[in-house]
């Protein structure tokens, strides 16, 4: 790839870039700046409508947030929920990827097609389908279990479990397909050499395949953490906006509710900043993992 450096190129390049820059600065850059700014003010309905002056709080919203028991409870729930989703996704995805290497093409294609369906289903549709399957009166699951009338979304932990199951259902295909491709990419000679050296199946799996898959595993793990930490749609729809008295809230839904239901935009924005900061830490880990696995920018 050669690049020309003729005179005037800079101007043309800028003209080509202008639309993209305009959109990205206006709708990504500026809002990021605004998010931080709003989080530093007492910004409620009255300030929005101009009925009250803006008061600069500095880190007041953050201090308020950190002193709330509610915030710590929601943060804990978010981490716990994400951990269950990530773990479930990885276990199911890895197990099925291994299973897929052990069967003939027709069986593998059947599995992949089903997984593709789960993967492609829009979150809103998927959540609604699961709600109906687990409906207290008309749900198929209660019919099979003989527990007609039982509510799966009333109990706090049961509701979290149901949402987590739905999230795992639509996110394991990514892990499965990626790891399957990774296992297939391991050269046959490596496995033959292990077999020649008299390694058992378990030994081959733990000492040969696993280390080779490690970079890939790190990447899908971190990708899953990033996704599952900010689940919104499933929680919002399946627990009807965060559960009874908000007991099924996660950070993302909490920020939304603070801002748009309670009109505490400043406080909502500070939750958004905390969330972004936490995800940024994960992302840094992601970049380091990518670099270690040899991916060039």
């Amino acid at each position: 790839m050669t690049m020309r450096t003729a005179k005037g190129d800079g101007r043309i390049a800028f003209a080509y870039l202008a639309p993209a820059l305009l959109v990205l600065v206006g709708l990504m850059g500026y809002p990021i700046y605004q998010l931080v700014l709003i989080s530093l003010f007492d910004y409620g309905q009255e300030q929005v409508s101009g009925g009250a002056p803006l008061t600069f709080l500095g880190l007041g919203n953050y201090a308020n947030l950190l002193s709330q028991d509610r915030f710590w409870a929601v943060l804990g729930q978010t981490i716990g929920f994400a951990a269950v989703c990530v773990l479930g996704t990885l276990v199911v995805g890895t197990a099925l990827a291994v299973l897929a290497t052990r069967v003939r093409t027709w069986a593998r294609m059947t599995l992949f097609l089903a997984a593709l369906g789960a993967w492609a289903t829009p979150a809103v549709a998927g959540s609604t389908i699961w709600l109906f399957l687990f409906d207290a009166n008309f749900g198929f699951v209660n019919e099979v279990l003989g527990t007609t009338g039982m509510s799966w979304t009333y109990d706090k932990w049961l509701a979290f479990g149901l949402v987590a199951a739905q999230v795992i259902w639509c996110s394991f295909p990514f892990v499965m397909v990626t790891l399957y491709a990774g296992i297939k990419a391991i050269p046959g000679e490596v496995l033959e050499a292990a077999a020649l050296d008299g390694a058992s199946t378990t030994r081959t799996a733990t000492s040969v395949i696993l280390p080779l898959l490690r970079p890939l595993l790190i990447v899908v793990t971190i990708q899953s953490i990033i996704w599952d930490f900010k689940v919104f749609t499933q929680i919002y729809i399946m627990t009807n906006g965060g559960g009874i008295a908000g007991r099924n809230l996660v950070l993302n839904v909490y920020a939304y509710q603070q801002a748009f239901a309670a009109s505490e935009y400043g406080l909502g924005a500070s939750i958004g900043v905390v969330m972004t900061a936490l995800l940024l830490l994960v992302t840094l880990g992601y970049l380091r993992a990518l670099r270690r696995s040899g991916e060039a920018l």
Partner: protein
């Protein structure tokens, strides 16, 4: 041999379990209403009917919402295609100061959790409404703008590789033949990167199509401008959900995405595997 047969049996059972929710969705959409709200649901129906689809499309003007979703998704795809193609060309075919900075910014911006930006974007859209109502709150334009912004970084990043793969000699030949820069760009380069454009378009389409959060935040008081994910919620009422219509709506919403997924799955898998493997 025997172990493989067992493994295949297990695989098929798992596939059936994974596909079951989708089967149940289509089945419920095709069941007559009485069977849907039967306290004794059966995993089959002997009297399939399109009643639920008719109800979904007429009673709650679901057709209108379907159209809105299509308009938003198609507008996002077309705009993001044109803008990202130009930007990718600039970033691969020209050398200028701040080029590396821009590339790094493109990567960083992809890591921002866009969900956190709902609050500031709400106020941005409020201001936009005063200047250009079509692109402000309560209008489809606001959804087009945010999804365009969210899809651009990845689209530019992905197209870069495709543009770089087109030999520079081709451009020189075109210039010698008297083609203007503009003609080369749209009549030579654009068709050549088409495979990359298809893959990025599908991803932009799916993101815009599936969005629930921004549609919920921006379209607050204009029911006629809602999109499908929100419209689905109008059938959800305390204790009297019209499950037949909800499932018919879900089916209508899922089918386009499913088709696109099947169309690009090979590229998608290769792209993902390529993105994580060295």
């Amino acid at each position: 041999m025997n172990r493989r047969v067992v493994a295949e049996g297990v695989t098929v059972v798992i596939a059936a379990v994974v596909a079951f929710p989708l089967y149940w969705m289509v089945l419920t959409a095709l069941k007559p209403e009485a069977e849907v709200i039967s306290a004794d649901p059966r995993p089959w129906t002997l009297a399939p009917t399109l009643d639920s689809f008719v109800r979904a499309l007429t009673v709650q003007s679901f057709g209108r919402y379907l159209l809105n979703s299509v308009v938003v998704a198609v507008a996002v795809v077309v705009l993001s295609l044109l803008i990202s193609f130009l930007a990718a060309t600039a970033l691969t075919r020209f050398r200028f100061r701040s080029r590396t900075t821009l590339l790094i910014m493109l990567l960083v911006v992809q890591m921002v959790p866009v969900e956190a930006l709902t609050i500031p974007l709400f106020f941005v859209m409020q201001s936009v409404r005063d200047v250009a109502p079509v692109f402000g709150l309560n209008h489809l334009g606001s959804l087009v703008l945010v999804h365009l912004a969210f899809s651009l970084p990845f689209a530019i990043w992905m197209l870069r590789g495709f543009v770089a793969a087109v030999p520079v000699e081709l451009e020189e030949a075109a210039t010698l033949d008297g083609a203007s820069r503009f003609r080369f760009l749209w009549q030579v380069l654009f068709p050549l990167v088409a495979p990359g454009l298809v893959a990025t378009s599908v991803l932009s389409f799916i993101h815009a199509w599936n969005d629930f959060l921004f549609a919920k935040t921006f379209i607050i008081s204009a029911a006629e401008n809602q999109t499908l994910p929100l419209a689905l919620q109008v059938f959800v009422k305390p204790d009297q959900n019209d499950w037949g219509a909800i499932m018919a709506g879900s089916t209508l919403m899922t089918i386009p995405v499913l088709i696109f997924f099947v169309l690009v799955q090979r590229r998608l898998v290769a792209g993902l595997a390529g993105a994580v493997k060295s």
